[in-house]
């Protein structure tokens, strides 16, 4: 039942990421799939998160002009990192969790945009300033908003 719920949630997140968020104005948009993977990793562990990351990453990549496997690779690394922190996240404060989220999001964006940089022939510094950091900030902001809006928080540990 739990895995069915997660499947439905990720189908919803995929639809949201591919169809709904893409019509938002501006260049940046939050990566809700990445947030889903991090939350899954921290709640259920690395293995289910990495398998889910592979599947949703492939579908997400199919809709972009980047390399297929680029999002998948980033999401798998993010899932692995989130799975690592599963054991300690229950004992962490909000600020420490925020730092963990930020770290994982930056690592994912760095991997994704670095792979795209090879294709688009961009400078790595420009990429960091103009793409990685704004995208990471936007995703983190969305994570913060979602955390406060969801009754028990993103990780289900909010009191």
């Amino acid at each position: 039942m739990k895995y069915l719920s997660y499947s439905l949630i990720f189908i919803g997140l995929l639809i949201g990421q591919i169809s709904l968020l893409s019509f938002f104005p501006g260049n940046s948009r939050p990566d809700i799939l990445l947030l889903g993977i991090i939350v899954l990793g921290m709640r259920e562990g690395g293995v289910p998160a990495m398998i889910t990351a592979c599947l949703v990453g492939f579908v997400k990549d199919a809709f972009t002009t980047s390399y297929i496997g680029a999002s998948m690779l980033g999401l798998v690394v993010a899932a692995f990192m989130a799975g690592n922190y599963r054991h300690i996240q229950l004992k962490l404060g909000t600020q420490s969790k925020l730092i963990l989220f930020a770290l994982i999001i930056i690592v994912y964006d760095f991997i994704y945009y670095t792979l795209f940089q090879i294709k688009a022939e961009l400078h790595i510094f420009d990429l960091l300033i103009n793409s990685v950091l704004p995208a990471a900030f936007y995703t983190l902001l969305f994570a913060g908003i979602a955390h406060f809006l969801i009754p028990h928080g993103l990780l289900g540990t909010k009191k």
């Binding site: 639809i15 591919i18 169809s19 709904l20 893409s22 019509f23 938002f24 260049n27 940046s28 948009r29 562990g45 690395g46 293995v47 990495m50 398998i51 990351a53 592979c54 990453g57 492939f58 579908v59 990549d61 199919a62 809709f63 972009t64 002009t65 980047s66 390399y67 297929i68 496997g69 680029a70 998948m72 690779l73 798998v76 690394v77 899932a79 692995f80 799975g83 690592n84 922190y85 054991h87 300690i88 004992k91 962490l92 404060g93 600020q95 420490s96 945009y113 792979l115 795209f116 294709k119 688009a120 022939e121 961009l122 103009n130 793409s131 704004p134 995208a135």
Partner: protein, 275 residues
Amino acid sequence: MPKELKVIDIQYLSVTRSEYFTFLICLVVSLCLIFLNDNPQINNVRAAVVDSWAHTLQTISKYRSMAEMRDELSRLRQRTSYLLLENSNLRNAALENYRLREMLKFKESSAYKLIAASVIARDQDQLTRSVTIDAGSADGVAKGDPVILPGGIVGKILRAGKSTSIVQLISDHSFRVACKIQRSRVNGIFQHRDSRTSLLTQVPKNADVRVGDVVVTSGYSHVFPAEVLVARVIATNSDAPSLFQIIEVEPFVDITTIEDVFIVKRMEIKSAEEK
């Protein structure tokens, strides 16, 4: 030391063998896909995945349109005058009629075979820019087909599924097209720079380029037919320490508002140019 930092003990950061094993497998699969990116079988799977989502995306597109219409209706209801509402509807109809007539006229006057399609999804990342359209290989669309509007080029087909296709837009960072200045016939390469402007690169410093010049496709790319409108020159700079000028151009087509597009059949390009 804050209480929360005490619990970050290295003993908790233990990773099980199954996690390492899964990570390794997933990593290998991802890297294999990246290195096999141009493999036709991978592209077929990719097209099938996009196709499998086509129905969902079309449904969402319809619901979104319905939601937009509902918003529009509630906004109009606030107006007190029925005549004002009717007038507004008539104007909308007239504009739509004009737009459709222009598109029909363009389709009939074009020397190429054109396939009409509507945008059903957009990918608007920092660097990647693409749209998904509701025409695929079943409609005759193939990878590499140019996508245009009466105003100019929009992009090219990156992947064609059975009933949907992904269009790489001219605002995508990896999009390039061979162009020339219509007036002076100077050649260059069009590429996107940021959200507002694009560049015409590889133009020598002594080339005759002026602000306001029209940039058209050169036809050297074998993808786009020659003389299709691309952009207008908005600034030139010959002072940069380089062999080439920095030419800023503004595309004719506003990519952010496109709803309907035409796909130019590549097979027809050759025969039309021969004519």
